[in-house]
């Protein structure tokens, strides 16, 4: 008898140990892997937060939590590579100078911010969040997993290059122009950016010299003075950090591509980029991602040539296309925007799905970790009740590294009955 109890206890302990918090099996759904086709009636097995098996006949180890998703659609968690969530927009812009690379968004993250909850309901698992576009050289963005209410440290993605935000065009012009300061023109924007990077080159040279001498064992040398603005730009010059630049007009895009060549810095994404289709070939050649909306246009002068038909031109030219939200509100509707993109462009449906998953991962340099359902990748999943490009679909579950962060059944008035 005693032995039996002991045996039972051992089994219980084993089960609790093996069934970790980050273990999960999704069984019976239509799996849209995005990169490796569709699997009907398949299983995705997640262990320790990573996808360890995907396919039709997957053996689910006993004790692992199984969710039956028969008839539902399973796709990689959606990714938004340009948004403004998870912090108070009061901290949205450091408007004291057009050059503020010393500002880091990670300092203001709030993991219980309500915009995380609402974005999760749109199936989004990873975002790059940032301040606004007041400054030509703004601050450093932060890429986070939407682990609502968890410590901020756990949300921040580690081991990838972060991105510095730049903004050209009317926003910095309007803000500083209205204060009677430079920049109030596009020439001013160009000057401000160039001046900052020339200073950064000089700063870097000083530090390079110092470090070289120090390494050579030279004595009695003093390190140059540290400057946090220049430290960030030095990281960019050393390619330890990349750039996401907000711009609308084609002429500015061309200017920006040349500027980044001039300083030998890495431009990962051009955001908003409504004129991107006009210079699609040049963007493809430079290997920079388009990040933008599908059908926004005409809200201001520089946005007038926004064109929802431009996606096909960019796709055919070989541009990595990412659909972004740029806002907490739109961040909930990435899948609807992917569907909308198809209305205006004769492109395969998989391409639409890529624009909200793997392409975004590529822009964040995380394509080895997220953006598709493949063995070895993070267990970040969105479960939809219908095909995600059917716009009467909805998100049932949002899962990050094997943990459910959004569950429609538990948080819905549609399910639980109407409330006022």
């Amino acid at each position: 008898m005693r032995r039996k109890i002991l045996y039972l206890l051992t089994v219980l302990i084993l089960i609790t140990v093996s069934a970790g918090a980050q273990d999960l099996a999704l069984k019976g759904g239509t799996i849209l892997t995005v990169t490796k086709g569709t699997i009907e009636n398949g299983t995705v097995l997640i262990q320790d937060g990573k996808i360890i098996a995907v396919g039709k006949d997957i053996n689910i180890p006993s004790g692992i939590k199984v969710i039956d998703v028969t008839g539902k659609y399973v796709m990689p968690g959606l990714i938004d590579s340009h948004t403004h969530i998870a912090f108070d927009m009061g901290d949205g812009n450091e408007v004291s100078s057009p050059v503020t690379p010393q500002i880091w968004m990670k300092e203001v993250l709030d993991s219980s911010h309500d915009t995380i909850r609402t974005t999760l309901a749109g199936g989004v698992t990873t975002v790059k969040t940032m301040h606004g576009s007041a400054n030509v050289i703004g601050g450093v963005n932060v890429t986070i997993k939407l682990k609502y209410n968890h410590p901020v440290e756990e949300m921040m993605v580690k081991g990838v290059r972060q991105q510095l935000k730049m903004a050209l065009g009317e926003n910095p012009k309007r803000l500083y122009g209205s204060k009677g300061r430079m920049p109030s023109t596009r020439m001013g924007n160009a000057y401000v950016a160039r001046k900052a990077f020339i200073e950064a080159q000089e700063y870097k040279a000083k530090w390079d010299k110092y470090e070289k001498e120090k390494a050579a064992g030279k004595r009695d040398i003093k390190p140059p003075e540290k400057d946090l603005k220049m430290e960030t730009l030095r990281m960019v010059l050393e390619k330890d950090m990349t750039i996401d630049c907000h711009t609308y007009r084609a002429d500015e895009i061309v200017w920006l591509l040349k500027f980044c060549q001039e300083f030998d810095i890495v431009l990962k994404q051009i955001s908003h980029c409504v004129d991107g289709y006009k210079v699609a070939d040049l963007m493809a050649e430079a290997g920079v991602s388009f990040g933008g909306w599908v059908d926004w246009w005409g809200m201001k002068e520089e946005m007038y040539d926004g064109c929802p038909y431009g996606f096909k031109i960019m796709h055919d030219a070989g541009v990595n296309i990412v659909i972004n939200s740029d806002s907490a509100n739109e961040g909930r509707f990435l899948y609807l925007n992917a569907a909308k993109m198809l209305k205006y462009n004769d492109l395969p449906e998989t391409e639409a799905l890529k624009m909200i998953t793997i392409n975004a991962a590529r822009s964040l340099e995380m394509e080895e970790r997220i953006g598709s359902i493949e063995v070895g990748k993070d267990g970040d999943i969105a479960v939809f009740d219908k095909y995600p490009l059917d716009s009467t679909t909805k998100v049932l579950k949002t899962i990050i590294e094997g943990v459910i962060y959004y569950d429609y059944a538990e948080s819905s008035v549609t399910v639980k009955g109407s409330s006022r």
Partner: protein, 421 residues
Amino acid sequence: MKKKITIIGAAVVFFLGAFYADAQEIILIKNGTIVPVVGKVITNGSLLIKDGIIAKIGTSFKAPKEAKIIDAKGMYIYPGMIGPLTAVGVTGYPGAGSDTDEIGVSTPHMDSYDAVNPEDECIEVTRIDGVTTVLTVSGTRSAINGKAVALNLAGNLAEDMVIKRDVVQIFNTGARARNGYPSTLSGVNSLIKDKLNQAKLYAEKKKKKAESPKDFKCDLEMEALTQVLSRKVPALFITSDEVTIRNALHIIEEYNLKGIIFATIGILKFAEKLAAKNIPVIWAGTTTMPQRWEAVDKYYHTAAVLAKKGVLFAFNESGRPGSRNVRRQPVPASLSVAYGLSEEEAIKALTINPAKMLGIDNQVGSLEKGKTANVVICTKSLVQLSSKIHTVIINGKIIPKTSVQTRLRDKFKKIVQERKK
């Protein structure tokens, strides 16, 4: 001389011919799934358009010889969508200046018709996505704003576009003024009531004009408001929350107005009352961000509740007018269907419901014999955002599928391809 006569004769024949062809344009749409909105869905249906009007609708009938045939096999045929609160036609291109929201806290005498520009590029962009009719407003940001005009989005002159003028008079119970009175909600409420009271007196004086002409002086502001008091023109109230809805309803009741409520938040508390009093709602809050304590799908689900409670409602894609993206009308419909509204109700809220509340349902909003031929043919349901628009017909004429955006597409597709070579 003879030659001259021949030329003139030829010219006359040519013009008459052109006129004749124009007036007699006959179009037959066949083999499609017709969703007339009023009446049952017709599979494999045919629709005949003649003289700008829907002449016949049914399963199969022979086309007149001269008819242009559109084969809609595998496609859906809907009445054109209606944008119930837009600034299409008056927002202009950048630099042209905006013509909405005249200065003043009470400007009921402003008429959006006076500023309609048929060359506004927004018209083409909007109509080729299936929105064929809009209500164009003169403003919404003052306590008392101007009149609105209902337009079909086709025509060379503003007058060719008009379905109806003085469709509604717009009030805003949440329009606190930035400088000066009324800077509070109570102030806004009082201002509107004061003006309506004045208009009552004005109407009485006007009645007695023959007896005591000295007492009466024409006042366009008051003229506009008397139309609202006599229920000739409905009063559309822009609201922004529960309080502003309540105030609007009080004014509607107190002055016995023909009211319409435009809402983004707080409407469900009033659903029973709105249904009982037949006050329709322009529901513009589907994409409102929920508050921290509200369920994430509260606003996606609101339309389903409104429908269930019997409130007549229409979708508006944006929480504020002046958007250049009226073509996004299907977005709130999609979301609402995802969260509990029937597709049938959703389509109504894009077509016949707005037509009813704006009093233009005798002409547009459904596919019925005798109505204006505003027709959209698309590859999937109207609530599917990936549904491609195949053909748009307004006033019985096929609309060219061109806009500033298709022209940009064609231009730069070529440029990019050539540069690549």
